[in-house]
């Protein structure tokens, strides 16, 4: 059924991504590929893997942006994967029923045995989260590691998506947005978690935490504190003057 579930279950699972602490190391993208190439969507194929024009299926991609100008400017690393939207057009446009949104937790999935590879879902996703597997001829996408987060064979602490588990700067958080006391709900409330492309009305579940205000002083470089050589004595001041000529 590609109509959206009429009655949504108790959970709304998603990610919070902290743009303040992400260092752009691509570990999330790498570990995502590692886990998912043998999981629910296996294999995540590559074309020309060891030569020019290589391309392949990656559920997670890290972009890097520059924001602002001059002293106020900053670099922001920006990992992006499926937002598991509340109103995912990628699901409703699917002609076959291969794309669906789970009622119980809101995860958006693809049934690869039904997909005909028409690619319309990738056109309907404004975030570019859909990934076409050109070797298998079907569409694939982030599953929020459905085969990991509910996996009873793993220790409870390990039942988080691969991207979250691996992040060395703890910039990725996983949880239930319907639970007001969950880590993701609290982080979103405390840090002003942002929705991407809110004007399109997809109501993405995952949120991005904005970078905190920079600690560098704004404005003229002359206002920066000088090296403290006021107490250095006459001789050193003379050396400083000589060297400054």
């Amino acid at each position: 059924m590609t109509s959206l579930p009429e009655n949504r279950g108790p959970k709304r699972l998603g990610l919070v991504i902290d743009l303040d602490t992400c260092v752009g190391c691509h570990a999330c993208a790498t570990n995502c590929k590692e886990w998912n190439t043998s999981g629910h969507s296996a294999p995540l194929t590559d074309v020309n893997a060891y030569q020019a024009e290589q391309r392949g299926v990656w559920f997670n991609r890290v972009h890097t942006f520059e924001v602002g100008d001059q002293e106020g400017g900053r670099t922001v690393h920006f990992p992006k994967n499926c937002m598991h939207c509340e109103f995912p057009d990628c699901v409703t446009v699917c002609p076959t029923g291969a794309s669906y949104k789970r009622a119980e937790d809101g995860i958006v999935l693809v049934d690869h045995d039904k997909c005909i590879g028409c690619k319309l879902c990738s056109w309907a996703c404004p975030y570019g989260a859909r990934e076409f597997d050109e070797v298998e001829g079907v569409m694939k996408k982030c599953t929020l590691c459905i085969d990991k987060i509910y996996n009873k064979n793993l220790a409870e602490a390990d039942r988080v998506p691969a991207c979250v588990a691996t992040c060395p700067s703890k910039a990725r958080h996983f949880g239930d947005f319907n639970d007001p006391n969950s880590n993701v709900s609290r982080l979103t409330a405390e840090r002003g978690g942002m929705e991407l492309l809110p004007e399109l009305g997809y109501q993405p579940t995952s949120r991005y935490l904005p970078p905190r205000p920079g600690k560098r002083p704004q404005g003229d470089a002359a206002a920066l504190p000088k090296a403290a050589n006021g107490t250095a004595g006459r001789f050193l001041r003379w050396v400083d003057q000589m060297l400054s000529r």
Binding site: F65, R74, V93, I116, G117, Y127, F132, Y208, P210
Partner: protein, 314 residues
């Protein structure tokens, strides 16, 4: 958006086929066309060949073409599924209409009703095709009110030009066919001009600022791509046409799809049998080339919001 030739051929050929089928259905049922066997073979046969050829071409566009029957399941939510269902449904009255005309020399009564029903379903099918594009919010050049009229009018127009050619060739031409073609060309010209004016005047709804949420901190620029090579998304959505090329191609489309067919359709309507047939043939050739250029531009000028993340304008 990447202009895939399979989809361009599908929408233009099927559009013309449905246009011709609808006009044959209406004019045969209303008695303006004789129930002549060879006219039926060529007319309905041409319409069905264009429709079926287009549909086959669209199946070739799929990653798993052998599963194409599954594409009709989700008609409740998907315009693509609705189009598939309507395309199959249209074959039923269209087939019966064709059988009546070709084998029983009858286009009246039951077969007349089948012709009229095929005309209605053909129109709904083209409407569904247009809605596949018009319903996509991430593509502003498609998500607007001019797309559906464009598809409907261009289908009718190319079908009307084919009708004039076929009826001229068989000597069963009526003035109404010719003037309908002239009117359809004028309508197509107007709708397409309005469409181009609309997409030129529309400001992008989304920016890299809203796409990243970082717009409130200042201007956002792409510093580094996620990777050095092009991925599927960039190949599929990242197609860009230079503005001056688009302007030239719009001129080519305007000339081949509207200006030349307008003059030739007038000549076909006003001229004698020989001049009329030649003019109609010229109009069909010109419009056929023009509609392919127009459809290619429809894809090439469309921009997808996901490309904002790759540093391109939406």
């Amino acid at each position: 958006m990447h202009p895939a030739y399979s989809v361009i051929f599908f929408t233009t050929a099927s559009g013309a086929g449905y246009g011709l089928l609808a006009l044959l259905g209406i004019f045969a049922a209303s008695g303006l066309l004789p129930a002549d066997r060879w006219l039926g073979v060529v007319g309905v046969g041409l319409a069905m060949t264009l429709i079926a050829g287009g549909l086959l071409s669209s199946v070739g566009h799929l990653g798993r073409p052998e599963r194409f029957l599954g594409a009709m399941r989700q008609w409740r939510s998907s315009w693509l599924a609705r189009e598939g269902v309507l395309a199959i449904l249209t074959f039923i009255p269209a087939g019966l209409f064709g059988i009546g005309w070709v084998f029983l020399n009858s286009t009246q009564g039951f077969f007349g009703w089948m012709g009229a029903l095929a005309a209605v379903l053909a129109g709904i099918t083209v409407w569904c095709t247009s809605m596949i594009y018009a319903s996509l919010k991430p593509i502003q050049q498609w998500h607007n009110v001019f797309v559906t009229p464009s598809y409907l009018v261009l289908g009718l127009m190319t079908g009307a030009l084919l009708l004039v050619l076929v009826t001229r060739a068989f000597g069963v031409y009526q003035g109404a066919f010719g003037w309908l073609a002239v009117l359809a060309v004028v309508a197509g010209w107007a709708v397409k001009t309005a469409y181009w004016r609309h997409i030129d005047g529309t400001r992008p709804r989304s920016t890299l600022g809203t796409a990243t949420g970082l717009g409130r901190l200042g201007t956002v620029r792409l510093l580094e791509m996620p990777h050095t090579e092009e991925n599927f998304l960039m190949k599929e959505m990242g197609f860009r046409i230079a503005r001056d090329h688009a302007t030239k191609l719009r001129r080519v489309a305007g000339l081949a799809l509207f200006a030349v067919p307008f003059v030739l359709a007038l000549a076909a309507a006003l001229g004698g049998p020989v001049v009329g047939t030649l003019a109609a043939a010229g109009a069909v050739l010109s419009a056929g080339l023009g509609v392919v250029v127009e459809r290619w531009l429809f894809f090439a000028e469309a921009r997808h919001t996901s490309m904002l993340y790759y540093g391109m304008a939406a």
